[in-house]
Symmetry: C2
Subunit: 327 residues, 2 copies
DNA sequence: CTGAAAGCGCTTACAG
DNA sequence: CTGAAAGCGCTTACAG
């Protein structure tokens, strides 16, 4: 059976209190005692039970991450960086893939709370979360507005949308279509769309917007591309707010014998490592995923240390244009 | 402050024992009492503390997942499926990205143990894990041999390697090169290489094997491609044991003006959703990720229920060939 | 420098 | 049908 603190104490001939002291390097202990205890711990292959510790300390060092799905390269990479940084700080990560489903999000949220997480990183639009934030639970959102009091970290979506749209227009596109996620909510990512609309209007062009209903479904992406070709055969430029949408559109274009970038130019969004490897030709707007993760955890950590005031409520990190050969 | 069971008891005018009973639906309770308690829980917005529960029950319902990195599409998708299935079964997932670094793996392992996980799913080659398995910790490996007693779930790697190599030869390739991960250990995935060697020899051809030193690094992948072109300019076929390697090789080929599949044919491996979206032209061997996840958790769950005998020690799921236009 | 006692928030025999 | 007591494995005042 697993050794407990009492077993170590008995074996070392001291009290559990003393064992706890050497474990936590706390208070005075004679070198001799410390050695005895350490020897006993080795022998019994003892390591502390963090569940018991958490219960007493009212601190779990657990961080919950709720996001749509790690299957998506952006979130897969974001998850890696988040977990990696958490780990280096001594935090452990409880992962939740909500698929953007409200009901799942709510159940995940309750699960995290029951498990006494010290903080939550939210990459989905969970609104129920608001209530809990007030109960001084540390929360930070990535690319989502949750409430006036929850800090949001994102990259400069407006600038990204602006650069993408302007590039297409500069390259001579007359009919630029936007392919975006279906969106009920006002999210920072929606600024990409806003920028597209602004730039189009500024150039005297009519914005044409299509939404992917099931954003993580390849089939759904292809169908929308198909509809675009039917309804707007004149399309000669596409700004997709997500690289996967861009790739699906291009696949559909090729199927129809359309040349990219000859007849249609395409710009994507995200610029993950995965996309840069699998589809390096794609012109896209790259988000600084690692920086976003760092910043999010920085803000979360501050809250977990009790600093709920003076939090930077909105952080916008710089994006970069990756020029490929699809424009 | 967070309501505790005592607060609910006081508010409902009963004992904590009774509250616990309605919480767990255990023993006899009068309907009237149950209602009183439920009303009090609602009012106080009470939900149980799972840390305290775990401590008493000696069961955390926590599952640790150790894998290289969710940044990689295969592992990103695998993680999604694993977590998703765990969630549906009432388990929670503690995520660990080890980057295949031994020291990180060992630290993660100890972390998981301290946190009293009920089971561990391992997608890396952690050897230290063996010792703990004997202490009746539930463990299942994905694509890794850990020891004679740890069940392994993988897809039919030999068959995949065979199909890929045979396809290239059938298509007329004379000089087929293998691009593989650097590999110290005997893993199921290594069977892809074994199959390649067998088929090459069977066809009277000399196997030519290159290894990517830093497998998650795009730069490293490109460098190996570069070396292949220098050392084997005659190369007209490539079997890459990973789609990212394949993509990097193709990028390097294009840079040199080589036509794929005209001058060089390429087959990858994994066939994730991400690859199918971003690089649908790639011919590749698709692993049944969802099935692998299901099977792994099935085996883990059985162990967590105390069934350590009669475990299927080796599971090999069927792969499929996805024919694209790179062959 | 070290230990006995109390308690973290629950659950479960055991009584009644 | 309900409650008082003990205990899960730790840690931390408080004494000495």
């Amino acid at each position: 059976m697993k050794a407990k603190i009492g077993d170590v104490a008995k074996s070392a001939g001291v009290s559990p209190t003393t064992v706890s002291r050497v474990l936590n390097d706390r208070g005075y202990i004679s070198d001799k005692t410390r050695e005895k205890v350490q020897k006993a711990m080795k022998e019994l292959n003892y390591f502390p039970n963090d569940v018991a510790r958490s219960l007493f300390k009212k601190r779990s060092n657990l961080i919950g991450i709720i996001l749509p799905t790690t299957s998506n390269p952006f979130f897969g990479e974001l998850t890696f960086h988040l977990e990696n940084i958490c780990n280096s700080l001594g935090y452990k990560v409880l992962l939740c893939n909500s698929l953007n489903q409200m009901d799942k999000e709510e159940r995940y949220l309750e699960m995290l709370l029951r498990n006494q997480v010290d903080g939550i990183i939210v990459g989905t639009h969970n609104q129920g979360i608001l209530d809990y934030h007030k109960q001084n639970l540390a929360i930070v959102a990535i690319d989502r507005y949750l409430s006036d009091t929850v800090p949001v970290v994102s990259s400069d979506n407006y600038e990204g949308g602006k650069i993408a749209t302007e590039l297409l227009i500069t390259e001579g596109c007359k009919h630029v279509v936007l392919i975006d996620s279906v969106g009920e909510l006002e999210t920072p990512a929606r600024l990409r769309r806003n920028a597209y609309v602004d730039i189009m209007l500024k150039n005297g062009k009519k914005p044409i917007i299509y939404e992917i209903p099931k954003i993580f479904d390849r089939q759904s992406q292809r169908e929308v591309a198909d509809i675009i070709f039917t309804e707007h055969p004149e399309v000669d430029g596409v700004f997709a707010t997500n690289d996967l949408f861009a790739a699906s559109f291009i696949a559909e274009a090729k199927k129809r014998g359309k040349d990219v970038p000859g007849q249609i130019k395409v710009v994507g969004y995200d610029g993950t490592e995965t996309v840069q490897t699998l589809f390096p030709e794609l012109t896209t707007i790259k988000q600084p995923i690692n920086l976003m993760a760092k910043k999010a955890i920085d803000i979360l950590d501050r809250q977990m240390e009790g600093e709920f005031n003076n939090l930077q409520l909105e952080t916008s990190l710089p994006i970069t244009l990756l020029r490929g050969s699809t424009t």
